[in-house]
């Protein structure tokens, strides 16, 4: 759904505003995930699992896990709240965030969707205010919706003059929207008392070329509205043409047929009126127009003087009404027992817990007696929005149940960790005590200073191999002995040999000195690294050992603190669920009772008319008074 994706994309990334259809598997090119936690949020969000995405985002923000997406995350939060039906919080966030440097297109779209949810939930002033914040034209697919939404918000507040002005100021409604715009203009004019002008506009809509099913429905609706407006103004002749334009197989045909009959009856052409009314007799009695036709038919027969047929039809009508009243009573009882909501959600595939929030809509009504009576109510915004809340509350209840079980497991996990700690403590203490890091550090300092001294004094021998050092010592030890020898040729040769060997060794030692010095320094660096790692690990173990008791207390306190919160919210959620159910059931029951009341009224009218016919028949044997004659057949 493009509209849906617009806000998804908008919230996901300001840069990703170029929205693709939600169904298309298209990467949002603007989204470059720099923090994994943000990617996780998106994963939930793209699956329309708003609750999980919200939980993850709130946790990520608390742990500062989305530093690279801080600004987007805030917008995302607003978008997710909105998607989850949390319009108040979404509004607060948009109010705060959208003031700042956000791309205007996003700004306007965010307010549009907020206005839409507020309208659907009946927050009309808020919706109007949100629409007022839109500063420029929305994208092509949303702009007409904005105009229509604004008009609807005004009309629902009874501000028909404002709605009229807004609709008339809409300069360029496209072909797909012009009919709807005109329709609401017509309605507004009629509501403002400008009946002739309103009728002219509705008549235009009623004669539009039907290009698709939506326009066909609109056309029919306009014709029915117009026809009844004329009937109400006691102008049956004008009413008939528009009512006759309504399709016979459309959803408005019953009302149109009834109206056509009344327009004929108004001109006393009862024979003509019978044709559409008798057509209605064979249709579903669930429709109020069909119910009324059951009274209208015998009324016409009575007017034509066909008392027997009239009496028969009244009798049939009474039977039909009684049967219907009985079924309504059964349905009311079933709804009071909670059957309706269970049926509505239980049979709906989307009732699965993974989808939630504002976008969900019950679009397939289960085929039950109750839902057939309540078709219009079930399609209304108030019922749908109430049902969404009920559904979300169901999920909250399930969620809280799951956490109740988990909290018990948390206690066990914590106890296990505590026991493991207590068991390991002697070993840990033993290991920590066996390592003298200070002594190791002192030894390292000593080694470093020795190496420094060797470098300063260029003590090439000190860096020689053990063999070289041994040889050096041997050659040095020879020197006093060689010096003590007499000055003869043999001794001179020995001394020269020692000097030569010493020189040779020194030459080797000097040759290798630099490389050995570099290698020693490198080894010292490695020693440093290992020492630091040892210190770090030692510190980690020490911290773990020292911190755990405190951490244990802290975790215990957190679990202990969360338990009453979960339990408290469970009670609140259960109460809210019951209240929501009562509210929805109340709407349904009220609707059914109104239908039953109407049928009871019809039944009384039928009985009265029937009695009048019998009276009239009886009176044929005796002279009747003029007053009695005028009463016969006219429903009260």
């Amino acid at each position: 759904m493009p509209a849906r994706l617009s806000i998804l994309a908008a919230a996901a990334s300001v840069a990703a505003l170029a929205a693709a259809p939600a169904g298309a598997r298209e990467k949002h090119e603007g989204i470059v995930v720099q923090d994994l936690a943000y990617g996780e949020v998106l994963f939930g969000y793209f699956q329309e699992d708003y609750f999980t995405a919200l939980t993850r985002l709130l946790a990520a923000q608390q742990r500062n896990e989305v530093p690279h997406h801080a600004a987007e995350a805030e917008l995302m939060l607003g978008g997710l709240y909105l998607s989850y039906g949390q319009h108040r919080l979404a509004g607060e966030i948009f109010e705060r965030v959208l003031k700042e440097s956000v791309e205007p297109g996003f700004h306007d779209r965010a307010w549009f969707f907020l206005a839409k949810i507020w309208y659907q939930r009946g927050y009309l002033p808020e919706s109007e205010a949100a629409l007022g914040r839109i500063s420029s034209e929305l994208p092509e697919e949303l702009e007409p919706q904005r105009h229509m939404l604004y008009a609807q918000v005004l009309m629902d507040q009874g501000r028909f003059a404002d709605a009229l002005a807004a609709l008339q100021a809409w300069k360029r409604p496209s072909d797909a929207w012009i009919g709807f715009a005109k329709f609401n203009i017509g309605v507004s004019l009629v509501r403002l008392g400008q009946v002739e002008e309103g009728a002219r506009v509705l008549d235009e809509v009623g004669q539009m070329a039907p290009e698709n099913s939506e326009l066909n429905a609109l056309r029919d609706k306009a014709n029915v509205a117009l026809g009844y407006a004329w009937l109400q103004a006691s102008r049956p002749v004008e009413a008939k043409p528009s009512l006759q334009r309504v399709r016979l197989d459309g959803p408005f045909s019953n009302k149109a047929l009834l109206g056509v009959g009344w327009s004929d009856a108004e001109t006393s052409d009862y024979r003509a009126a019978l044709a559409p009314w008798l057509t209605l007799r064979d249709r579903s009695l669930l429709d109020s127009a069909v119910q009324e036709s059951l009274l209208a038919v015998p009324y016409a027969f009575a007017q034509l003087g066909a008392d027997k047929q009239a009496a028969d039809h009244y009798t049939d009508a009474i039977d039909a009404f009684n049967g219907e009243i009985e079924r309504l009573t059964t349905s009311i009882d079933a709804i009071e027992r909670g059957a309706l909501i269970t049926e509505l959600l239980g049979e709906h595939p989307d009732a699965a817990p993974e989808t939630s929030g504002w976008y969900w809509r019950l679009d397939k009504v289960p085929d039950t007696v109750e839902s057939r009576y309540l078709y219009e109510l079930l399609a209304s915004n108030r019922f749908q929005e109430g049902l969404k809340n009920y559904r979300d509350l169901l999920q909250l209840n399930r969620n809280l149940d799951r956490w109740t079980e988990s909290l018990g497991a948390f206690d066990d996990i914590l106890d296990t960790r505590q026991r493991a700690y207590e068991q390991r403590l002697p070993n840990i203490d033993g290991s920590l005590a066996s390592v003298d890091l200070d002594a190791l550090a002192a030894r390292r300092v000593e080694l470093a200073s020795r190496l420094q001294e060797i470098e300063r004094s260029e003590d090439v021998v000190a860096l020689g191999t053990a063999k070289e050092q041994q040889n050096w010592r041997t050659l040095e030890q020879m020197e006093p002995n060689l010096a003590a020898l007499p000055n003869d040729a043999e001794s001179d040769e020995l001394r020269a040999k020692q000097q030569f060997l010493k020189g040779l060794l020194l030459w080797d030692l000097r040759r290798d000195y630099k490389a050995r010095l570099w290698a020693e320094k490198k080894a010292l660096g490695e020693l440093d690294r290992q020492l630091r790692e040892a210190q770090r690990r030692h510190h980690q173990v020490q911290s773990g050992r020292d911190d755990w008791p405190e951490k244990f207390v802290e975790l215990t306190a957190r679990i202990d603190g969360l338990e009453p919160r979960v339990n408290g919210l469970k009670t609140t959620a259960a109460t809210a669920l019951a209240r929501q159910q009562t509210f929805l059931q109340g709407l349904a029951i009220e609707e059914l009772k109104a239908q039953r009341e109407r049928l009871r009224t019809y039944t009384v009218q039928a009985r009265f008319a029937l009695a009048s016919i019998y009276d009239r028949a009886a009176a044929r044997t005796a002279p009747a008074t003029p007053a009695e004659q005028s009463l016969a057949g006219a429903p009260q």
Partner: protein, 203 residues
Amino acid sequence: MVARWIASTSLLTLALASGLAAAQDGAGETVVAAAAPQFTPNPNVVEKDAAERGEFRTLDEDVQGLKKQVLDLNRDLFLLEEELLFPASTQVAVFVAMDVGEYFGLDSVELKLDNKNVTNYLYTEREVDALVKGGVQRVFIGNLKAGEHELVAVFTGQGPHTRDYRRGASLKFEKGIGPKYIELTISDRESKQQPEFVVKEWE
């Protein structure tokens, strides 16, 4: 007389109430919905409507407040659960992302840590769509001691012309004292039409 009768019934009200309409919904799926009340408002209906709206609003405000409280609770429980089950010092998590063209379908991802099977995840279409759109899935979270470890990951899926893919990657990594995150991106950008894992370590 007939008009008087019509006016006495509720049908007229119904007809007009449903007769007024406006279109409002997503582009391309225009629907006709009741938008305005009847021409002549019935004071009782208006009053009842206002009462119902008020009741709905009160309930809605309560539900909004409750949802916020439960969300905050879930946040706190989520954080507690992770701290308890996967302490930062031992935590290791593996994430899956996708950077592939339109025609690669992911079926499953299998993970082995130190030669031990830890995850074999089968994807739904919805999940794959979410990955393709830019989501990142945490496919595994667990605990590991500090030191060197090996991760072996294998993904299976289908490419164009229902060609089956099975690709693997292995990674030797050092687990330090902080949490270790490994991101496996299935990508076909690198080697032209051949999806492969691109592995990235996060600290």
